[in-house]
Subunit: 372 residues, 2 copies
């Protein structure tokens, strides 16, 4: 193994050892409580809208001080603690010690062998893994927990090294990949960025637009790393965007459809989500800019539209009271959209020709937002 | 450009030229009808269940002799012919001549500039592209039409060359890719297979099981090319499986969940689908073997199960009369499943340990089916 390979191997060992230490702390706490003849319990931040607050330091929304308790005072709480110790044992002895992993779905099935600690449904084991994230302040990737499906891709002027189970892979995300791009792995911490020649990261909602930007050579003309969000982006997608933004100082633009669900895609890239605010500091990119489609673009470019549905309207209304959209800009745009009653897709620009989006729309928007 | 690169470039030119010729034939036919003062019309196979028949030569289900007519005798038919000529013009002059492409969604928007030939909804433009496939006996990939989302991946001992818009890429699907694998492009005809060391192709329904097989080293132990189906597989996924099976003579196994929807996934890989029977010869792999999960496995391995829902039961009943499942084997399995009233997922094997699937279940099944 090369010196660098050795150093990456050490990095993995360090991350496994951190996870082991933090997980052992939880069970030690429970053990000590037993020894001291107190009823075992653990406390963790309560995951409610009321317990979300803005963190000035990191510019993202995080959990506040309110806590909820899992205590063996109740039968339900006792079972939760039992399951916590079984899951911790499994993660330490099967995953970390043997350098293996499983999906959240597999974990649910694995509990079959845990007698009284068997999960009743997957929602329960998923939630337990979130508890462990909160208790350890680590992410489930540290525990080698995989998501069920992954599959976002990126394409652009960046070279990276991925540490895989089969050894290191050096990959240039334009020169060493097919037209589909580089497949982002579930654990982005296994990636080390090498050289890059990028002036921006362009995160794109749909596969159609991602392919359009590649075909039109937008990545070359603007030195852009294109990232396919695939709708609501996976954790690995958000994490790699954040890492490139933070470590390489590359600005991020988010290009989505013009409807309330797409604004939430932008918000989840930029600010994180309420149900996983404990991950915001790790996955959110607060400096990301929204590049459209904006409601004002629907008017200005006379885009082909669809009518807002009832669901769209109530999603827009709820965004007006969402702290993540608390700005003059979003207030104006959302109110305009409610007034015109229309939404538009990013691919609607095709109505003006296949080059319109890369030759007119995006250059205008990059200018407006000061990105080019 | 290398000699081989030149030959691939020629291959693309030949495929574009074939598409151009076949598309021009359609509009020439209409033109001649006008000249001869007959009412223009085109005929194409009718796409109904009643018009599906088994083709002994290719071992797949194809359309029979029944035809339906698009004729300018009716206003609706006249509009259809008008749209056909506009779409043909667009494909020839924008796509083939300029070596560009668009998504089906973009095509719908593009028609905005076609006055009376504008599509009312995307279903209409999608159907027109299917008509063109039937009329030309080519696939929409020849017209450079892209799907909206793609994204299946493969991982295994095969080296290939992909002809991309940025030049040729040589990729070994174990050594040159990250843990996520090789991203299959939308047009698989741009791939040329080089060397391989594979004894089988294992097509896998879920991302969780695909990752499990990679982690457990199944690809190395069995010289297997793992293909992630991602549920109901995309055209490109089915096409690359068929090409590897046909051109390289590698046997194919399909490993899915044990429920009626998964049997349909297998059937679409092996026999194609009714609504696209004109593509069966191009995309179906009739020799593909079903490797499970079988209803009899649910009993034999005492797998963790869910109850069949009403929808599951009626899907199973409808499979009993589906020509693609007309065999003793499927009759027995489906009837057994209706009797036990249960279904199981492929990840349920995790309940017996992380290695059970690769050390016990799959080896047993490969033996039973004579594949290893």
């Amino acid at each position: 193994m090369s010196k660098k390979g050795q150093s990456r191997e050490n990095k993995r060992a360090a991350s496994d050892s951190l996870a082991r230490t933090k997980l052992l702390e939880i069970v030690e706490r429970i053990y000590t409580q037993f020894e001291n003849e107190t009823v075992p319990s653990v406390s963790l931040p309560s995951r409610t809208k009321a317990n979300i607050e803005y963190c000035d330091r990191s510019d993202v929304w995080v959990y506040g001080d309110r806590e909820s308790e899992r205590s063996a005072k109740t039968v339900k709480g006792a079972f939760q603690l039992l399951k916590t110790t079984y899951a911790t044992d499994f993660i330490i002895n099967e995953h970390l010690t043997q350098n293996r992993g499983s999906t959240l779905r597999e974990l649910y099935y694995i509990s079959e062998g845990w007698d009284a600690a068997k999960f009743k449904e997957q929602a329960e084991s998923d939630r337990l893994i979130e508890d462990l994230e909160l208790l350890t302040t680590l992410q489930r990737e540290f525990f080698h927990m995989r998501p069920e499906e992954d599959g976002a891709t990126m394409f652009g002027p960046i070279e990276l090294t991925e540490q895989t189970k089969r050894g290191e892979r050096n990959i240039h995300c334009q020169k060493d990949v097919g037209e589909g791009g580089y497949q982002i792995p579930f654990n982005v911490e296994n990636i080390e960025f090498k050289k890059h020649d990028a002036s921006m990261i362009m995160a794109v909602e749909t596969g159609g637009m991602y392919a359009r930007l590649i075909e039109n050579g937008f990545d070359e003309a603007y030195n852009a790393i294109l990232v396919h969000l695939k709708g609501q982006p996976a954790r690995s997608t958000r994490r790699i965007i954040k890492r490139m933004n933070e470590e390489l100082d590359i600005p991020v633009a988010v290009f989505t459809d013009g409807d309330p669900w797409s604004y939430r895609i932008f918000a989840s890239v930029a600010y994180g989500a309420i149900k996983s605010a404990h991950l915001s500091e790790y996955m959110a990119t607060p400096k990301a800019k929204f590049l459209g489609v904006q409601p004002s673009d629907i008017v200005e470019y006379e885009l082909s539209t669809d009518k807002l549905t009832e669901q769209d309207i109530s999603a827009l209304r709820s965004e007006l009271s969402d702290p993540r959209f608390e700005s003059e800009y979003w207030k104006e745009q959302i109110e305009l959209q409610l007034k015109i009653g229309k939404k538009a897709e990013q691919q609607a620009f095709a109505g003006k020709g296949l080059d319109f989006v890369t030759e007119t729309y995006l250059p205008n928007r990059l200018n407006e937002t000061g990105m080019a």
